[in-house]
């Protein structure tokens, strides 16, 4: 085999220009495919990141009416029981769940104030001890909620940066009192995302999809919730999956467990905000147009393959006397066949490697020019080189068989 490779490289090297021109079809085909695949992959990763956030595989399961969130201000819906302790344990014990938090929430709350300052349209959540870590938040000033806050119904609050800015423009929030629906709460701490993350927005469509106006959030212990709202309110579950791939599964499992709290109500159900599903839908949209491009690029590859076959046939004719000599010296039919197949496969594989390099460069250039993200896909690279080798073998077969079947006498006679 090494001898065949040596002969193949020597043959290709001795006809440098011709070999390069032969490879060109394969190079162009592979380069276009790699460029397209890199762009698809880059776009997909961007979509995934934008929707899911960096490294935080959270699934939220909440009550929905149809496809919209249930509006809690209408009161607790009929036939929906609170989530029991047992269910919470069951959810936390799921294989793919790392952590789970249960909380109650209101959006567009207007009566959160501090003196003359107020938080307009803010979000208020009554959370448990696991909330911050499950949802990827950290307290950067003050302290997080403690066990005792829940036990003693201590009226403590955590503010995010937007809420802190709105309520305390002078910047000194810690230990101050804020009023929520007229009840005084002490600011125990300020929190924010553990990892800063903002979706990358390339166009208007991205903006509509990913951008959410942040009006500020105030967290209080869930034990205090009945002071502001009613008792036994159904909770929202935030579950952190072990991986992004497990998110859809976790969503379904949590939905199933929580659905047992809903009796005789056809309109209301617990549903997961399946971000992975959303991302997939958007990815499919971009992939389907691009897969058409891959088919077109494949035609270039096919034409390249035919070019290789053509040149190999010429090469067999040119080297008829060489083949005859080798046969006279004792080369078997199989030896000649393998020699020519190797040469053709090496030729297209080199083309494949050059094509991959050109494709990556092309993807980078496209990315620079249009702003579309590009990401190099290792499996695509391996597959491309392997595929170009297969092209060499397939299209080299006819010329190689022709060479192997040459009669040594006829071959020697031709010079």
């Amino acid at each position: 085999m090494t001898e065949n490779l040596r002969i193949a490289f020597a043959g290709i090297w001795s006809h440098k220009l011709r070999s390069f021109l032969t490879m060109l079809g394969v190079i162009i085909g592979i380069a276009s495919i790699i460029a397209i695949v890199s762009t698809i992959k880059g776009t997909n990763e961007q979509i995934m990141k934008n929707l899911i956030g960096a490294g935080n595989n959270n699934v939220t399961v909440r009550l929905k009416q149809g496809s919209d969130d249930y509006w809690m201000d209408q009161g607790i819906p009929q036939g929906v029981m609170p989530v029991s302790q047992e269910m919470k344990e069951q959810i936390r014990d799921l294989d793919d769940v790392k952590e789970a938090s249960f909380y109650m929430e209101r959006s567009y709350v207007d009566d959160i104030r501090c003196g003359s300052q107020s938080l307009s349209q803010g979000r208020l959540a009554g959370v448990d001890m696991q909330y911050l870590s499950t949802c990827g938040y950290v307290v950067y000033k003050g302290r997080p909620f403690a066990e005792s806050d829940f036990k003693t119904f201590r009226k403590a609050a955590l503010l995010d940066e937007t809420a802190a800015r709105a309520l305390f423009p002078d910047g000194n929030a810690l230990g101050k009192i804020i009023e929520i629906k007229g009840e005084p709460f002490t600011v125990a701490g300020l929190y924010r995302r553990a990892e800063a993350f903002k979706p990358v927005i390339n166009n208007l469509q991205d903006y509509m999809t990913y951008y959410t106006q942040d009006y500020g959030t105030v967290l209080i212990p869930d034990a205090d919730w009945p002071i502001l709202y009613g008792f036994d309110e159904p909770q929202i579950c935030a579950a952190r999956a072990v991986s992004t791939d497990a998110m859809s599964d976790v969503g379904r499992q949590v939905e199933e467990i929580m659905s047992s709290c809903v009796y005789n109500n056809e309109e209301i159900s617990y549903k997961a905000d399946d971000l992975v599903e959303k991302a997939k839908n958007r990815q499919d949209l971009s992939s389907s147009t691009n897969s058409m491009l891959i088919w077109i690029a494949s035609i270039a590859l096919l034409v390249g393959g035919i070019g290789v076959m053509n040149i190999m046939l010429v090469s067999v004719t040119e080297r008829t006397s060489e083949i005859g000599l080798k046969k006279a010296l004792g080369a078997r039919r199989k030896t000649i066949l393998i020699q020519f197949l190797t040469e053709s496969a090496v030729l297209t594989s080199i083309g494949g490697v050059i094509g991959v390099a050109a494709g990556i460069a092309l993807a980078m250039v496209i990315s620079r020019l249009t702003g579309a993200p590009a990401a190099v896909s290792v499996p695509a690279i391996i597959l491309s080189v392997a595929f170009s080798m297969v092209i060499g073998i397939v299209f080299g077969l006819l010329p190689s068989v022709k060479a192997a079947n040459l009669s040594p006498i006829d071959a020697l006679r031709r010079e």
Binding site: E322, K326, L329, R332
Partner: protein, 239 residues
């Protein structure tokens, strides 16, 4: 007995006509014999050479090479016989232009599965023995005709063949190079190598221990058409 032809016939089909080229050839060669086959063009000497060289099969008859009946062998078996028992020397040298003299000589060892290092070492030794020790890494294009033919002889000898078949080995050489090549054949013959040489040059044939003649596909020990042959080129004197 190194070679025995029994009633070998070979005919080709030309359209629907059967064209006999060799007619009942009976011929024997002892081990170490140096034989020249003479005959005009179209007499069938190349066809005979192809059959003895296991490049082609006879239409009928039996060919025993080194005691083995090769007349009914299959393609790959013929290839193995060529590899192990026969050394070829062609009029036009048949060297691969993009490989060095040493690599050309080592080529048969590739098919014998000899590792590269050993191949090149052995090729070097054989090249030394034909007086080309200083030309080993030259490409064929950088060698003279006589040197090329000596490379070809080295290639034919590298696998220690049982018989050396030479087809007009001096046909493409000037008289001085031709004489050098013929000296090499003499030397090999003295070493006990069996040589069968095709030529239409009486001077070259005269160097062989035995001359057989072929005319219109019939082989004989004496030439009936000597006058016609005498027109051929002059002989080579020892260099």
């Amino acid at each position: 007995m190194i070679l025995e032809c029994k009633d070998i016939c070979k005919s080709y089909m030309q359209g629907k006509m059967e064209l006999p080229v060799l007619k009942n050839i009976c011929f024997q060669m002892e081990e170490g014999e140096y034989t020249a086959v003479m005959g005009p063009s179209g007499s069938g000497k190349s066809t005979l050479m192809n059959i003895i060289g296991c490049l082609d099969l006879p239409t009928s008859g039996t060919l025993l090479l080194d005691g083995e009946d090769v007349s009914r062998c299959r393609d790959d078996q013929l290839a193995d016989l060529r590899l192990k028992k026969i050394g070829f020397i062609f009029q036009s040298f048949q060297l691969l232009p993009y490989q060095s003299a040493r690599e050309n000589v080592a080529l048969p060892l590739v098919y014998a599965g000899v590792p590269r290092r050993e191949r090149l070492q052995r090729a070097g030794q054989v090249l030394e023995s034909v007086g080309l020790g200083d030309r080993m890494d030259f490409l064929p294009g950088q060698l003279s005709g006589g040197q090329k033919q000596r490379v070809a002889i080295a290639r034919a000898m590298i696998n220690h063949p049982r018989i050396l078949l030479a087809d007009e080995p001096t046909g493409a050489l000037d008289s001085r190079s031709g004489a050098q090549v013929m000296d090499l054949f003499d030397q090999l013959s003295r070493q006990g190598v069996s040589i069968l040489m095709i030529t239409h040059d009486p001077g070259v044939a005269a160097r062989a221990g035995r001359i057989v003649y072929i005319r219109d596909g019939i082989l004989s020990d004496n030439d009936e058409g000597e006058e016609a042959e005498a027109e051929g080129g002059g002989g080579y004197e020892e260099a």
